[in-house]
């Protein structure tokens, strides 16, 4: 792979990570933080956020695996 291609790959990877981070923050905030009478995160909310991050990353991996399987199948069918 040429140097330019590697640079582009790295750029895309960083952009993808940043995007995933933003989406994760939005989702986990929506799901875990409900009440605003206190301005500090409660213990429950903290736990919820930890679990949310774990589940989000895991589901992303699973979906990625499935997608690569499906696209491999599709490519085989086309050939």
């Amino acid at each position: 792979m040429s140097e330019q291609q590697r640079l582009n790959n790295a750029k895309n990877e960083i952009a993808a990570f940043g995007d995933m981070y933003n989406r994760m923050v939005k989702q986990c905030f929506e799901k875990c933080v409900e009440h605003f009478h206190d301005s500090e995160l409660s213990l429950g909310e903290n736990t919820c956020l930890d679990r949310c991050v774990g589940k989000y990353v895991e589901s992303q991996q699973k979906v990625g695996e499935q997608m690569s399987k499906v696209s491999a199948q599709m490519q085989q069918q086309q050939m």
Binding site: F36, H37, G54
Partner: protein
């Protein structure tokens, strides 16, 4: 990430070689710009989320008294802002540690 400083890209046609000091300066400018952009982005997100959480329901119902923020609204928005920032930090840390675990596993 739509803005990539071509001035820092040594592979871009026509870029001149830079001294170490110049490189450092440009890198710092790039980092500061990125930081300001991230702050603005976070502000926009926080705005939207906190409006949705604290005020959207009341406005749609019609129960919100017009034009002014009630004391409840203010308190809710302040808590929301603090919690949003805390969430971002927490998620960032958890994300980073999860990534590092994964990278360590892949190397083994």
């Amino acid at each position: 990430m739509g803005w990539w400083p071509d001035a820092l890209n040594p592979l871009k046609k026509g870029s001149r070689p830079m001294s170490q000091k110049q490189y450092e300066q440009k890198r710092q400018i790039m980092m500061l710009t990125g930081e300001v952009e991230a702050m603005g982005d976070m502000f926009t997100r926080m705005n939207r989320q906190c409006y949705q959480k604290c005020m959207a329901a009341a406005v749609v119902d019609g129960s919100a008294r017009s034009d002014e923020l009630s004391l409840d609204d203010e308190k809710c928005l302040e808590s929301c802002a603090v919690k949003f920032v805390a969430t971002q930090n927490l998620v960032g840390e958890a994300f980073l540690s999860a990534n590092q675990d994964e990278a360590a596993k892949m190397q083994m």
